[in-house]
Amino acid sequence: MRGMTLIVKCITQLMAPSILVLGIYVVFHGHLTPGGGFAGGVLMAGSFVLLILAYGSDKVKSDSFKNRASLLESLGIFLFLFIAIMGFLQGSFFKNVFNEWLPGESGELWSAGIIPLCNIAIGVEVAAALFAIFITLAVLKFGEKL
């Protein structure tokens, strides 16, 4: 996939970091405002996809990009499962343990116990998963070494 013209590249330079920051904001404020891990993760993946579409896919065709995306995806879902199992410290699966150790003021950024942590885990997983799907389906040729 070739890159696009100079106009698209310049606009992408301005837009892609803003989209990435918006995605991180949506993930971190998932328990306060509409959105959450899923929407924020897709926004983060979208900023990377925008960069690849504008600048071409020559630099992405190495193994390391896809391997890193796979690793981050596995790490995200492992983190989510780890938070779930951590509930056994207080007795049950998905028990909201942090709510009793470090209760935050409702409406602050640090509140609601495990919910922001779960949002972060889901955001990492979704961003890496959609980026891996994009690389596999749209960048690499069929049967090319992954």
Partner: protein, 175 residues
């Protein structure tokens, strides 16, 4: 609001039919976009901002991925169906739809009337902000009360990515 909902649903049905019947894959994908973005407007009209955000972002990214995949491969729908195969296909579809509608009508008699849900947990959800401390009640439901469901959804996404990478790999593949 009901009128605009009906208009949007009719638009979605037309978009879906065009997406199915179009011989050009690119126009089929664009028609599929009509369905998704109309669904976003419906979510906004029904006051569901969480769903609307997820739907519009997913739809945009899906369209980008599909268009990139079509531009890389081919634009023509090359699938051909033979006569007997087509008859069998439509017969199976109609049989399944009939059985489904019949069972659905049977089940519909046992459901509670519209507007009076018998889900006792929903009364506990209303107190979710005080119980979990999350201002966004949707986040409180999907990540605290129903976190097990969300774990299942994350696993579905993980499995689908693993499947895509496994099908499109080259190492260890018989050619």
């Amino acid at each position: 609001m009901l009128t605009s909902l009906i208009l949007l649903i009719v638009l979605m049905i037309f978009g879906a039919i065009i997406a199915l019947e179009s011989k050009d894959l690119l126009s089929g994908i664009i028609s599929l976009g009509i369905v998704g973005f109309a669904l976003t407007i419906i979510f906004l009209l029904l006051h569901a901002p969480d769903l609307a955000i997820v739907q519009i972002i997913i739809e945009t990214l899906t369209l980008v991925i599909l268009i990139a995949a079509v531009l890389k491969t081919t634009r023509k729908d090359t699938s051909e169906e033979f006569g007997l195969q087509k008859v069998l296909l439509w017969g199976a579809c109609i049989c399944f739809a009939g059985v489904f509608m019949w069972k659905f009508l049977t089940i519909l008699n046992h459901l509670p009337p519209f507007g009076s849900p018998e889900l006792r947990m929903s009364l506990a959800y209303l107190n979710g902000t005080a119980q979990t401390g999350a201002m966004n009640l949707v986040a409180a439901v999907i990540l605290d009360f129903r976190a097990y469901d969300t774990l299942g959804e994350a696993t579905v996404l993980f499995t689908s990515v693993a499947g895509i990478i496994a099908v499109l790999r080259k190492v260890g593949r018989k050619t």
